[in-house]
């Protein structure tokens, strides 16, 4: 009797001790399996001979070689560079500018902030579809200008294979720059107002105060913003699908849409897996140094 009650209380005690671990365990196991498990599985696939169905015979770097020989992959990479570069630069610029303007304690700031931030709350599918309508020559902007009487107005980037990728940039910038603005605004609000006053008394003009003092002193936010934007750019998928579908042809393909097409439409599981691994490597190349510097910085400050 005494023995059994003591084992029971032991059990309770160990249950209490480990409760948090027990609660976290299922989601931990799930993410271990579905995220990291499938990363490993994809890495394996990239070394296999898989086409339509996964097979597990070793093919070495064969899939990577085929990938890099494909014209379409090169288009996707080039598009990623164009899209990513423009997207990051324009978002940073616009976000920064909007934040500085909003920081002037203007009236209706709350309303404006919400308006700018709101696109971030939409899914990329909605953004893509909306901009598809706006940019469609027969439906949107061009038609409206024609109806207003400006007959020579022409804006056909959406259906022009040289320019389709830029429409993706427009839509993505529209969606993300408000978020970047919010990041900058938070940082600007953290800047000691006395610094601005001191510079003002020193005789500096407002642009000089911002570009000479305030913005350089919030440099860490730039880094965070770039990391957020870069990973958004690399994994952009739904926006392209909704807006251009990768077309015309494959002229606005990005690596993510390329991967999807290879896996589910072209029966090239191996190439798809190889392209996925290339994307993973790219994201890791951005995130890992960032996390490393953040964590090390945390230790230094702490």
């Amino acid at each position: 009797m005494g023995a059994s009650s003591s084992t029971e209380s032991n059990l309770m005690a160990s249950l209490q001790r480990n409760l948090s671990k027990i609660v976290v365990a299922p989601s931990f196991a799930a993410s271990l399996f579905f995220v990291y498990g499938f990363i490993i599985w994809t890495a394996w696939m990239a070394f296999s001979k898989s086409r339509m169905m996964p097979v597990y015979d070793w093919a070495g770097l064969r899939q990577y070689e085929r990938l890099w020989q494909m014209e379409r992959w090169h288009v996707a990479i080039e598009n990623l560079l164009i899209f990513g570069g423009l997207f990051i630069v324009i978002c940073l610029f616009l976000g920064c500018l909007l934040a500085v303007l909003l920081d002037q304690r203007i009236r209706a700031e709350g309303v404006l902030r919400t308006i700018f931030l709101y696109p971030m709350a939409l899914s990329f599918i909605v953004t893509g579809t909306t901009w598809k309508w706006i940019l469609n020559p027969g439906l949107g902007l061009e038609k409206m200008m024609h109806d207003l009487g400006w007959a020579s107005f022409k804006f056909d980037w959406l259906v022009n294979s040289d320019f389709a990728i830029y429409t993706v940039v427009i839509a993505a910038v529209w969606q993300a720059s408000g978020f970047i603005m919010a990041m900058f605004l938070a940082a600007l609000r953290g800047v000691d107002q006395d610094i601005i006053r001191a510079a003002y008394m020193d005789g500096a003009s407002l642009p000089r105060i911002y570009f000479g003092i305030i913005i350089p002193s919030i440099r860490p936010v730039f880094l965070s913003a770039i990391v957020v934007l870069a990973h958004l750019a690399v994994k952009s998928f739904d926006l392209v699908i909704a807006l251009t579908g990768g077309g015309p042809g494959y002229s606005s393909d990005l690596p993510a849409t390329f991967m999807y097409t290879m896996a589910f439409q072209r029966n090239q599981l191996g190439i798809s897996a190889a392209s996925a691994m290339m994307m993973l490597a790219t994201v890791m190349a951005i995130i890992v140094p960032y996390l490393y510097s953040e964590l090390r910085g945390g230790k230094k400050n702490g």
Binding site: A198, A199, Y200, M201, D202, I213, P216, S217
Partner: protein, 371 residues
Amino acid sequence: MASLTLDKVRKTFGSVEVLKEINLAIEDGEFLVLVGPSGCGKSTLLNLIAGLETSSDGEIRIGDRVINNVHPKDRNIAMVFQSYALYPNMTVRKNITFGLEIRGVSASERDKAVDDVARLLQIENLLDRKPSQLSGGQRQRVAMGRALVRNPDIFLFDEPLSNLDAKLRVDMRTEIKKLHHRLGSTIVYVTHDQIEAMTLASRIAVMKGGILQQFDTPQHIYEKPNNMFVAGFIGSPSMNFIEAKLVDDNGKIAVTFDNNGQKVVLPLLENSPESYKSWVGKDVVFGIRPEGLTHKRTGSDKPGSQYVNFDAKVEVIEPTGADTMTVINLGGKEIVARVRPDRATNPGEMMTFSADMNQISLFDPTTELRI
């Protein structure tokens, strides 16, 4: 270098009147300290002088020049902020020269100016560091250097020492005072620390609720406070207030108050102001600083002495080393006396105290103004 005049200056934020008709005038080279409790409008007043806020009414003059509508950078005023407000992305050297650079001072002159200021403030070895690599005291020096280098007519300080630890605060206070002597510049200095105000100022402006309570030399404010607020705010430990009555004591005016059932009668000195006469028979507030209330003084028994004795029971003693603060209870109020340590007694015992009638103040209990 210049005099500063504020003429009926008012400031409202929306419908809130933060400053009500402030009149101040200081001469060239004076050290004015604005002191008062938090939220009384000290920083607002300083910002008006700096030009960071515009006054709602009234005139601000430097020398003969009205500066109400002059841009801050053209007022030739430099300000040291409480948070130092150093430019975080610039080295100390750049911080100090930034204002000069904007004014188009040549590089060689800038270098010379930095070197002079750095030597004066002993920050020569810090010039190439960033503000984040400096201690609080060093930042304070850099902030002062940034103000000094411009050689302004007037320096403004907004609670410059409140972020420093106690020891450093005392050191910097001395240093600011030395600097003032050396440069002879006009300074307006905001603080809520009355000791800083007393030690630094050539004149003090005590403020409360946006109203200027008293504007005078430190000694005069200490000895003859205009009202009970100023009396209580300046001096530490603060002045004792005792509810009392003025009576006619055999042809002499005397203050009388209740000491646990006994009546204490303290005759006023012969040279007391005439105005006291009209208060005979009325309630007053009797104010006396702790150092005016001591152990029994020699000669206090002689007739005509400035000291008057009374007995009271000691409640608490607080030794500070130099003096022992002895707390007694008069009419339900705690009263602090400053007693020489060797004359102090233990709590619970009776003790004879001397009140120095030269150091008393009387106030009107309703208006709280000095009689």
